[in-house]
């Protein structure tokens, strides 16, 4: 066991009968262990090649010229001067896009390079390739673009007004989700309501967008890129490049974090266009500033919620209106609206419901996927309102949530049966029972106070607050999406040792998927050495590294491919041994009989042959929801988490110090317990960041803070100690019983922190991130 500080160790406290692994092996590094990351040593020394580390002899550098205006008509583009800059090898505009000048995750509505209009500040207009990045930048500055600035829609609350300029035809509505369940005219003795506003958060992955495009002899291109889903990139690139998939080959380069921000295309088509034009390898790497314009953000949201309840706090009805600013292009806004609508009332039993969720176009930066995907914004509203309800009926925040918490066998607000564990009450109880940090004594070291060595207080005006939140999140893709992963597994003898090779296109972005792939192979095949093949499009799609889905779906595919390989091996062994297949298993490179006796070696069965099988895995189908009522089995799995936050707030200065952030989460089955805890730490930090400090400030369509000086993310000093409790209630429908892990902590941590600050300062605080002036009321 690895050393860990006392407060953060995983504690697997419950196990409700996980399905046994199909082969009980004694191989180390299997499921349930926490083997070291296979890429760990390379990452700590820095040898691991991130997309920005790639190099090719005779490569040139590409840069993007972007729009300075949120909305403008392009009157003309003159590239003559840029072309005369020594060292420049190509300057491209919309006219140079050979295929369809359009891309998009769900709708191809975004031009590769702007044509006629620019719809947000930072929209790509032209590309330059040159022998040095600085040369390319200077040449780009000499491209003359004549803009006619147009009125911009920058307040999403007015995007659907009759007189609002249309960002796209026919209008500015991306999606309206209407959900109606139960009695719409019901009333209740206790009614609470509120309005909540959530600012725009950025994924702020530390490794900015980067890629290397290499033109190939067959006229195609090989792109090495940091991404979350190679095959969806490939599909969009083929459209824009006008090429078949065989000619557009993608390879996963090292990914410096993702968090949703690499779901949409960035350098992909641009670098490829330049490579195909110049005949040279082209590298593109965004600066931090460009990165803030180069990917979608988390949707800012405006939420209006009302709960009706009995006097004992039991919910009777909920009404909610959610407005999400999608920015200038569709990206994944429709799916985010889907989540905000179908999951937007939290993990509660509510018989009568009316929800209207809207995503709209504006001339603000495009918004799309970020960890928590639509549930994050909604949770700030339903959790704040739960606390209001607690106050109104005289309950504490834990009890009111437990009283209304979803249980297995309930139906959620879309009428979907919750057909595996829903431990809402238990998760809340666990965090409520965890020891609280010691009370601050009167002569506390000022460094432990909000403001710290800024010496802003000696404790006067500092008030402690405690807050709770609970959430649930859909795992995997929803609403009828054909969500699957592919895995190819090969087993052979190499140098006298059995080696399994696992090949998927599923992106490792730091979450530890490749470790999980190895663990599954070791468990199913009983071999220790598992090689993870580089990720590329030479194998079928691995689906997206998002929606907390990879361990579940790609894990399922790897398991299926392993089982197929094992079936072939055991059938051969059975034939040569004259035994029944059902009495044989694979363990420690041996074929073992029913009572564990070694019958023969894997080497004898395999000989010189390799056994290779490819399998696709699909989770249970999901379904579109009814357009009138929003009812339907929209999701495949739900994951639950709860947080308790403890804060000290200087109510005179508005400074906050998070003293503790404790959490409990059901993960179904912890395939890799250390990685599970790492995900919970990371997710919790990002939720806390949104509550207290992270916001892209956009005024009149312009981003005001595209740098790490002004866009703040939590540092090691901001993160409090965390007690993490992990439950393992197996989901009988999922491989090994797993439940997605990465997102729930991002959803429940922020509302718990906000609740704690509210409790400390006594103000309603209806906007996040909470700023000092909100706390002081000045």
């Amino acid at each position: 066991m690895r050393g860990r500080s006392g407060h953060s160790g995983p504690s697997v406290s419950t196990d409700a009968g996980t399905r046994p692994a199909t082969t009980a092996t004694t191989t180390p590094g299997r499921i349930g262990d926490s083997p070291l990351r296979p890429d760990g040593t390379l990452k700590v020394t820095g040898e691991f090649a991130y997309a920005s580390d790639l190099w090719h002899d005779d490569m040139v550098w590409g840069v993007t010229l972007r729009s300075p205006h949120p909305h403008a008509r392009i009157r003309g583009i003159d590239i003559t001067e840029a072309l005369t800059v020594p060292g420049v090898t190509a300057v491209l505009t919309a006219d140079d896009v050979p295929g369809e000048n359009a891309f998009g995750l769900e709708h191809a509505d975004q031009p590769v390079l702007a044509v006629e209009f620019v719809r947000y500040e930072g929209e790509p207009v032209a590309l330059v390739a040159a022998d040095h990045p600085e040369t390319a930048r200077r040449a780009a500055a000499r491209i003359r673009v004549e803009y006619e600035v147009l009125p911009a829609v920058t307040d999403p609350r007015h995007a659907m007004d009759d007189d609002a300029p249309a960002v796209h035809r026919p209008g500015n509505l991306v999606r309206h989700l209407q959900l109606r369940r139960g009695d719409q005219s019901v009333t209740a003795p206790v009614v609470v309501s509120l309005d909540v506003e959530v600012g725009m958060q950025d994924q702020a992955f530390l490794g900015p967008e980067s890629g290397l495009a290499v033109p190939a002899e067959d006229g195609g291109v090989d792109l090495y890129v940091a991404t979350q889903w190679l095959h969806v990139d490939q599909r969009q690139m083929c459209l824009a490049l006008g090429m078949p998939p065989e000619k557009v080959r993608l390879h996963l380069a090292g990914v410096g974090g993702a968090f949703g921000g690499r779901e949409d295309l960035s350098v992909h088509v641009h670098a490829s266009l330049l490579a195909l034009r110049t005949g040279k390898p082209v590298k593109m790497s965004y600066s931090r500033e460009e990165s803030f314009f180069g990917h979608v953000h988390r949707h800012p949201a405006w939420l209006t919620y009302e709960f009706g309840a009995e006097r004992d706090g039991t919910l009777v009805y909920a009404r909610a209106r959610v407005l999400l600013d999608g920015g200038a292009y569709a990206s994944s806004t429709a799916a985010v609206v889907g989540n905000a609508g179908t999951l937007g009332l939290g993990p509660y039993r509510i018989p009568n419901v009316a929800v209207d969720a809207y995503g709209v176009f504006t001339n603000n930066p495009p918004c799309g996927a970020m960890r928590g995907f639509g549930c994050v914004q909604a949770a700030f509203a339903h959790e704040a309102l739960m606390d209001e309800l607690a106050d109104a009926v005289g309950l504490d925040p834990v009890t009111v949530r437990q009283r209304n918490g979803m249980r297995e066998g309930d139906r959620n607000i879309t009428g979907q049966l919750i057909d595996s564990a829903a431990p809402v009450a238990e998760l809340l109880q666990i965090v409520a029972d965890l020891p609280l940090p010691p009370q601050r004594d009167a002569d506390a070291d000022l460094r432990a106070l909000p403001g710290s060595v800024g010496n802003t207080t000696h404790g006067e005006g500092v008030v402690r607050g405690v807050g709770y939140a609970v959430t649930y999140k859909n795992i995997g893709f929803s609403e009828g999406f054909d969500d699957y992963s592919t895995a190819r597994v090969r087993l052979e003898m190499t140098g006298g040792e059995a080696v399994a090779t696992v090949h998927t296109a599923a992106a490792e972005v730091g979450q530890g998927l490749i470790t999980v792939e190895q663990q599954i192979c070791r468990t199913e095949l009983g071999v220790e050495r598992v090689v993870v093949h580089p990720k590329n499009t030479a194998v079928g799609s691995g689906g997206s590294t998002s929606a907390s889905r990879q361990t579940y779906v790609t894990g399922g595919a790897v398991q299926a491919a392993c089982v197929a390989v094992r079936d072939v091996v055991l059938a051969r062994a059975a034939a040569s041994l004259g035994r029944e297949v059902s009495q044989l298993r694979l363990d420690g490179e041996k074929i073992v009989g029913a009572s564990g006796e070694v019958l023969t070696g894997l080497a004898e069965v395999l000989g010189e042959d390799a056994v290779e099988e490819t399998r696709e895995y699909r989770h249970r189908p999901t379904h579109a929801i009814d357009p009138e009522t929003g009812q339907g089995d929209a999701h495949v799995q739900f994951a639950f988490s709860a947080h308790r936050a403890v804060v000290d707030v200087d109510v005179e200065l508005g400074l906050v110090k998070v003293v503790a952030l404790d959490t409990a989460q059901d993960v179904g089955k912890a395939i890799n317990p250390d990685a599970v805890v790492g995900q919970i730490h990371g997710g919790s930090a990002q939720g806390m960041g949104l509550a207290l400090m992270e916001e892209i400030v956009v005024t009149d369509g312009h981003v005001r803070n595209p740098s790490f000086t002004d866009y703040l993310i939590p540092t090691i000093l901001d993160m409090p100690p965390m007690q993490v409790k992990v439950l393992e209630y197996a989901d009988p429908h999922a491989p090994y019983g797993v439940r997605g892990v990465g997102e729930p902590p991002t959803i429940s941590s922020g509302p718990a922190v906000a609740a704690a600050v509210r409790a400390a300062c006594g103000r309603p605080l209806r906007r996040v991130p909470i700023r000092p002036e909100h706390i002081t009321g000045t």
Partner: protein, 174 residues
């Protein structure tokens, strides 16, 4: 304007001509193809580019290559001797003190720097006795001194014990 310099990096000398405005980070990454230090911001805000300059940590994006002179530049890669990982490398791996790993070579160099600071008795804002000969690297000291290295994956809870273990082995922590 170009200047002829020799950069001594991880034990090897590299003569090269650089534009005087070139940062140490760009000289390492783009001229010498030494990509162990990463670029997260290029503005001294994230710490991903941290290297050691004669044993002291610097943000290499804030240092002009021409100012380095004879100083020895050490990257995280250079902390490994003869391909044997440094104790910090092993500790970071064993504590799972990273996820994506992009910040990690910078974290490791920063950690190597704070071990040296503690041995030399350099106090920080949280050091109780600023006159002491050596500083004990308590968890508070580690957090304070490592706070210039951002980790978006927030592996912080594991970075602290990863550094603490090595500090203990090196006698700057009980």
């Amino acid at each position: 304007m170009d200047s002829q310099i020799t950069l001594r990096v991880d034990g090897a000398a590299h003569p090269l001509a650089v534009d005087t405005r070139t940062t140490l980070l760009d000289a390492l990454r783009e001229r010498l193809r030494i990509t162990s230090p990463k670029k997260g911001c290029d503005h001294g805000q994230c710490g991903a580019c941290t290297v050691l300059l004669d044993g002291r940590r610097v943000n290499s994006c804030l240092v002009l290559a021409v100012t380095v002179g004879d100083a020895e530049v050490t990257t995280s890669d250079g902390l490994a001797v003869d391909d044997v990982p440094h104790a910090l490398h092993r500790s970071f791996v064993e504590h799972d003190a990273f996820q994506c790993g992009y910040c990690t070579p910078g974290q490791v160099c920063s950690a190597a720097g704070i071990l040296a600071e503690a041995r030399a008795g350099w106090p920080s804002a949280v050091t109780p006795d600023v006159a002491a000969d050596t500083v004990e690297l308590t968890d508070d000291e580690i957090r304070e001194r490592m706070s210039g290295n951002l980790c978006r994956c927030a592996a912080y809870a594991n970075i602290v014990p990863a550094v603490a273990d090595v500090a203990r082995a090196e006698g700057v922590r009980r």
